[in-house]
Subunit: 364 residues, 2 copies
């Protein structure tokens, strides 16, 4: 993927660095974008197809559900065909975790809310022998029963206590290939849990708002929860949960990273909300340009502005931009006025110029 840019305002929390297959997490590694398949894992072909699409879109780690023995047996075939690290998601059954490790996954995620302490010890032993990463994946919807009883509800403190107790259990066995997540469907609860754990350990953190809902709600909740933490320097890998196709998670993840200046991947389109001053069809233009640039990895700031109030200022501050007026506009490139163009030529001229700019970068 493209270069990493850390905004100077963000002072990232210092964490241990761990390797999950070919990807490192924590330390000064980039914030890694991950997702999870929603195919039936036992359907190897569909699962591989989905992973390949996710990988192409920019997904850097993939997790698959392992609900039974048949799913475990699919791991080897899936792993062989994909390029990104594979994580097995395990609940309830510790034998599935051990078998998944033996099948060659790069990491596993276990939930201490549904696997007992003794069984977790057995998993850790095998993970240690094979040097496989374990994510301790705490979740407000499935907190361990003793802590739910103690706190009455899955409060941030309860999630943190679960994480700390499990870290101790792991460390007692001399195992530290640990990643942590303390997810909640409640945004403030999630923020407070991560803030609290961030100052208590230096293991890398996987951030997520769990069960965030369908696309728009997931964009809102994930930006609020994950974004607030990232802007404070907390978080090493992120997963956006969207009800629906996991492919839709990737642009959201990069959208958050790009808007915070953490990883500038993909085009940034600045476009105004339009108002009574706008005399061009800006929505149509924005949709066309967005569609034409969808999936591009190159960072480029494009300003599509309806009028002369903020148009020239924003266009001048972008790689390329148009400030509209009555059925025409001024084309800007790198802060300079290039020419006046007619509205009917906006799309054609913009895309031609953008492709030219990106080609020039490659030559340099």
């Amino acid at each position: 993927m493209a270069a990493v840019e850390n905004l100077s305002l963000i002072r990232r929390r210092k964490t241990k660095r761990i390797n999950l297959g070919v990807v490192s997490i924590g330390g000064d590694s980039p914030i890694v974008v991950q997702s999870m398949t929603n195919t039936d894992t036992r359907d190897v072909e569909s699962t591989i197809t989905q992973i390949k699409k996710l990988e192409k879109a920019g997904c850097e780690i993939i997790r698959i559900a392992i609900p039974d023995k048949e799913a475990v047996l699919a791991i080897h075939a899936i792993k062989k065909k994909i390029g990104i690290p594979l994580v097995a998601d395990i609940h309830f059954n510790y034998r599935l975790a051990i078998d998944a490790i033996k099948q060659g996954v790069d990491g596993i995620r276990i939930n201490p809310g549904n696997i007992s302490k003794d069984k977790i010890k057995k998993i850790v032993k095998v993970a240690k022998d094979r040097q496989v990463v374990i994510r301790i994946g705490i979740n407000s919807g499935s907190l361990q029963k003793d802590l739910l009883l103690k706190y009455g509800s899955p409060t941030p403190d309860a999630l943190v206590e679960s994480a700390l107790k499990n870290i101790e259990l792991f460390e007692d066995q001399g195992f530290d290939l640990i990643k942590l997540s303390l997810k909640s469907s409640d945004v403030p609860g999630m923020i407070e849990a991560y803030r609290s754990i961030a100052v208590k350990t230096d293991y890398p953190l996987h951030l997520g708002v769990t069960e965030a809902g369908s696309l728009i709600n997931a964009a809102i909740k994930s930006s609020l929860g994950i974004g607030t933490l990232l802007y404070e320097g907390i978080g090493d890998t992120i997963r956006i949960s969207v009800t629906g196709n996991p492919l839709s998670e990737i642009p959201l993840a990069y959208g958050i990273l790009r808007a915070l200046g953490i990883r500038k991947i993909g085009p940034e389109i600045i476009s105004c909300p339009t108002c009574g001053r706008c005399e061009i069809d800006l929505l149509r233009l924005t949709n066309k340009i967005e569609k034409a640039l969808a999936g591009r990895k190159d960072y480029l700031k494009v300003a599509l502005m309806g009028c002369v109030v903020n148009g020239p200022g924003e266009a001048a501050d972008s790689d390329i931009g148009i400030a509209g007026a009555r059925r025409q506009g001024i084309l800007f490139k790198k802060g300079k006025v290039i020419k006046k163009i007619k509205e009917k030529d906006f799309e054609k001229v913009l895309l031609k110029e953008i492709n030219l700019m990106l080609d020039e970068r490659k030559i340099v």
Copy 2:
């Protein structure tokens, strides 16, 4: 609108309270949701129609562009027909601001980037006589030229200096019906500008990320920028900028406020991303329930969960919820298991139960 609930974690910044027509802003008033029309203001009928739709959706203050004399003349007719406060958005021409005030707007927004100090003084004099609120609307795309020269680019400090200089100008004339905005299309820049001004004055703040793009990008950038600040207690009124129909801004605004626990208006739908464990068509169900509840003002937490991992936990924590299994699910109400239902009956049963719950509330 429904009751206000302030999350205990948020300690709101203390601000002056001002009245914009029938709506108060700042102090301990609720965080007010506002928008702006994108009709041609001179087309009175279309403008009124759009405002009425926005009002119905939950918009609490409306702004209209006043680009010329003809638009000024539309104010009176528009104002007569709408229930929410009306704000005139003025650039370049101070006479339009003065005329808009005389036409009976509840507030005006001026941009010190394009109206000179002497002309602003004249506006303030008339606003003071008529006790009309003025928003000092600083924008990174149209910062005043002397400050752009001084700082080289529209930095947070430059925006803050513009705001402070204008506050001084207003106060020197004995005028304090002031609201401030320091918008930027750059999320970190916007956050830093508002954080800085928040500790330097106690005027209420209008938050917004400007030119935030089309729906998904606007959801991401606005949640990041506005959400981070609101969660710190900064901000008294918000406007989400979406390229396209302003009606789409209102659910985003309430989505942010709801997710942060600031104003719980409208249904909150908790739904899982689905994975290899999910054996029901959760996306279809989520879409159906979302559509059926769209536009409802009542707060209600609905959990739609694909499997038994987090399903029972989330469903039990909601007003109503379903935890799915193989083509069936368990219905929960207020933490209690009610009954097992078949997948084909999910939608019907859920909507019936939801309507029953909301009716009961009205009776109480």
